[in-house]
Symmetry: C2
Subunit: 246 residues, 2 copies
């Protein structure tokens, strides 16, 4: 775990503090912009869990810095605990799936890019860090509309996690709140991009592709690229992504 402080204020402020999960993708970048807009001093929490698309980590740092995070905490989690996924193991990332059919979660549709219990571990770590640094709020950029069908992106999961976190902690037990926010939950990808655009997010520094080339260029064919690309198109905003597009 390393913490850097790219935008630390010159003096202590009485702003409330939030932990924001930042992956380097467009959803979490927008979420960070929203948390700041809602008045929080933000600590970006970035996980290196052995994801094959390493360029994501670089993007996460850039995003956190550009969007005014006071601190960036990078945590390395052992990849051996997150096996069996195309994002961590030598399994082919699916290409050119029908993203139109991904807009509501149905049992049995979970793709091979699912990483075991990822958001559960990330949110738990965020909860521990929140208590450690005196933050009252946690933001996560999950979305249940234009998404790939991961169970840990559902509102039911976020709600159940919030309850578990409240019961697990001193902060929750002593009547203080420990709130988990998922502001993008019900938005389309186009709405997310529009809101981020209003808040000044530079999407050119974000990275969504599951299967980039060695130069970090997006494949243009994985679920994540397809959802991103369609989102920009629907939002009527130019997509700044560099795609390989063969």
């Amino acid at each position: 775990m390393t913490t850097t402080r790219p935008n630390q204020p010159a003096c202590e402020t009485d702003q409330p503090r939030a932990i924001v999960l930042v992956s380097g993708g467009l959803d979490s970048a927008t979420t960070l912009a929203i948390a700041r807009d809602e008045g929080f001093a933000c600590r970006a929490l970035v996980f290196d869990y052995g994801q094959r698309h390493r360029v994501e980590l670089e993007a996460a740092s850039k995003v956190a810095q550009a969007l005014g995070a006071e601190a960036i905490t990078m945590v390395r989690l052992d990849p051996d605990a997150f096996q069996g996924s195309a994002l961590t193991t030598a399994i082919a990332v699916p290409k050119d799936r029908d993203t139109g059919s991904m807009s509501s979660h149905q049992a049995g549709e979970i793709p091979v890019t699912y990483v075991p219990a990822r958001n559960l571990v990330f949110l738990s770590y965020a909860t521990a860090l929140a208590e450690s640094v005196g933050a009252s709020d946690i933001y996560i950029g999950v979305n249940a509309v234009d998404y790939s069908g991961y169970p840990d992106c559902r509102p039911e999961f976020i709600e159940a996690f919030g309850r578990a976190a409240q019961l697990a902690t001193k902060a929750g037990d002593e009547g203080g709140a420990l709130r988990v926010h998922a502001p993008l939950m019900e938005w389309t990808k186009a709405q997310i991009i529009q809101r981020g655009n209003e808040l000044g997010v530079d999407y050119a520094i974000t990275h969504s592709c599951y299967d980039p080339d060695a130069q970090g260029r997006a494949c243009g064919h994985c679920d994540s690229c397809l959802l991103r690309s369609a989102g920009f198109e629907q939002a009527g905003i130019a997509d700044p992504t560099t795609y390989i597009r063969v």
Copy 2:
């Protein structure tokens, strides 16, 4: 994360598999014995989160090996995420508290040995590992009777976590169960020791003390020593612990 395999069977078995959280203390040792007795091939999951009482980690390995765990997975978590506790920071461990009054959880009683969101993070990691290795069950030795007042040892927390884990995972989503067991929850310390004794647990190799000396001897005065010592007395079983007892 390192995994050793002290008791691996010569061939694959069709036994169901469980992840058992093992700390090196008497509760988790008893829990491991119970999980084995209930028919599971067990993987012991041990966390090094920067606890000051390092002797616990050595005890955890011995316990797992002695109680027939097929594999021991040791995970290092960054201590910076678990601050503000007497177990991870230079805060004095409370001594000679009235453990008689610790037998039911009341708000405001959480002691300084509380570690932020510890069981939430441990169980989340166990969930990821369970999915990664194809285990259906998780065992944790929490107890809400003779305990120190930690919020993350309550039945309400375990229940809420179980629901979050079920919703977060592919295993849960696809209708498969991911069960979280806390078999000691309603037992007194004496009952735990009696059950462990029946199952052949060698409590001499377990370690409970929060504040041992350099030789690993138990202080005899912290909450954990007091609860352990009283438990053996009430169970009518000789306490094999080496106490400093000044």
